[in-house]
C-alpha cells in the first residue's frame, strides 16, 4: 500500500473551493473550446481542410531550390556550342545561307 499523506494543512472553507472550482472551470473551458471546435463543429472541419489546402498550395508554389537551378544553368552552358557557325544555326529558325557562313563580313555589310 502506498503512503497516504496528511491533508489537514489544506484550507477547507467554501470560498477556497469556489475559487479553485472557478479557476478549473475557466481552464477547462479555455482548452476544451478550441479542441471541441476543431474536432466537432462543421466550421472547424472546413477550417482544418482549408489549412491543409493552403499548406499544400504554399509548398507547391515555393520555387525550386537554388542548387537545382544552378545545375540546370551549368548543363545549358555546357551544351551550348561555342563556335560562330553552330551559334548561327542555333539562333535562327531557318538554316543560314552558306554565303553568310563563309563570308560573315560581306553578309553583314549594307
Amino acid at each position: 500500500m502506498t503512503d497516504l499523506f496528511d491533508t489537514t494543512a489544506i484550507q477547507d472553507d467554501p470560498e477556497h473551493w469556489d475559487t479553485l472550482a472557478a479557476r478549473i472551470t475557466s481552464h477547462v473551458a479555455q482548452r476544451g473550446s478550441t479542441l471541441d471546435w476543431l474536432a466537432h463543429s462543421r466550421a472547424g472541419f472546413f477550417a482544418a481542410c482549408f489549412a491543409v489546402a493552403a499548406s499544400l498550395a504554399f509548398l507547391m508554389s515555393v520555387p525550386r531550390p537554388p542548387s537545382t537551378l544552378n545545375a540546370s544553368v551549368a548543363w545549358t552552358t555546357a551544351l551550348t556550342p561555342a563556335d560562330d557557325v553552330a551559334k548561327a544555326m542555333l539562333e535562327r529558325q531557318a538554316p543560314p545561307a552558306i554565303e553568310s557562313l563563309l563570308f560573315p563580313q560581306r553578309s553583314e555589310a549594307p
Binding site: 496528511d6 491533508t7 479553485l20
Partner: protein, 191 residues
C-alpha cells in the same frame, strides 16, 4: 460538508450536468460538486496541495474531453475519482523518477523522502497528546479514512468512491481507527 456540497447550486444529477457540459454553468456546477473531494484525495495521495490542485484540474480536463464515453447509467463519482487516482499515481511515479535522477547527478547520500504527517496534524486538531500515540498504530488507509470521515465529514459512500474501496471496508477502517483512539484516550475503560 461532503463531496456533494455543490448540489445546493444545481439540482440536476451528475450525468445531466455532464451531458450539458456545453453549457458553462452545468460544467461549473459539476466542478464545484467534486473539487473538494478530488483535491483532498489527491492531496492524500501526493502530500502536496499545489500538486493536488494540478491533478484535479487535469482530471476535470480529462472528464470534459471524454464526456461522451461516460456511461450515464453508472455513478459519476467513482469514475472521476479513478481518474484522479490514476493521474496522481502517474505524477508520483514521475516525481520519484526525477528525484532518483537528481540524486544520481548530485551523488547525494540519501533521498529527501516525504514522511506522512498524519499523526501530528490530526492529533493537533483533536488537541489530545494521547491521540498522537494512538494514530501511530493505525495503518495509512485507516488514518486516511478516519480523517476524511471524522475531520472532513465525508460520508462512507463518498470515501469508498474516492479511494476505490467498498463501503464496508471504509466502515471497518473508521471503526478500527475509532477503537484504537478510544483505547488510547481512555485506557481505563476496559479495566
Amino acid at each position: 460538508m461532503g463531496v456533494t456540497d455543490g448540489r445546493r447550486h444545481d439540482e440536476r444529477t451528475d450525468a445531466e450536468l455532464l451531458a450539458a457540459r456545453g453549457d458553462g454553468d452545468a460544467f461549473a456546477a459539476l466542478v464545484r460538486r467534486y473539487v473538494r473531494g478530488g483535491t483532498l484525495l489527491a492531496a492524500q495521495l501526493l502530500g502536496d496541495a499545489d500538486d493536488a490542485e494540478d491533478v484535479v484540474q487535469d482530471a476535470f480536463t480529462v472528464v470534459h474531453r471524454n464526456a461522451r464515453r461516460f456511461d450515464a447509467e453508472r455513478p459519476f463519482g467513482p469514475w472521476f475519482f479513478a481518474i484522479v487516482r490514476r493521474l496522481a499515481s502517474n505524477r508520483r511515479a514521475r516525481d520519484l523518477r526525477r528525484r532518483r535522477l537528481l540524486l544520481r547527478w548530485t551523488h547525494s547520500g540519501s533521498a529527501p523522502v516525504a514522511v506522512p504527517a498524519h499523526e501530528d496534524a490530526i492529533a493537533a486538531r483533536l488537541d489530545a497528546a494521547a491521540a498522537r500515540d494512538a494514530m501511530r498504530v493505525l495503518s495509512p488507509m485507516q488514518r486516511a479514512c478516519f480523517e476524511l470521515a471524522v475531520v472532513r465529514g465525508f460520508s462512507t459512500e463518498e470515501i469508498a468512491a474516492m479511494h476505490g474501496i467498498s463501503e464496508s471496508t471504509v466502515r471497518q477502517h473508521v471503526f478500527r481507527a475509532r477503537a484504537a483512539l478510544r483505547d488510547a484516550l481512555d485506557p481505563d475503560q476496559h479495566t
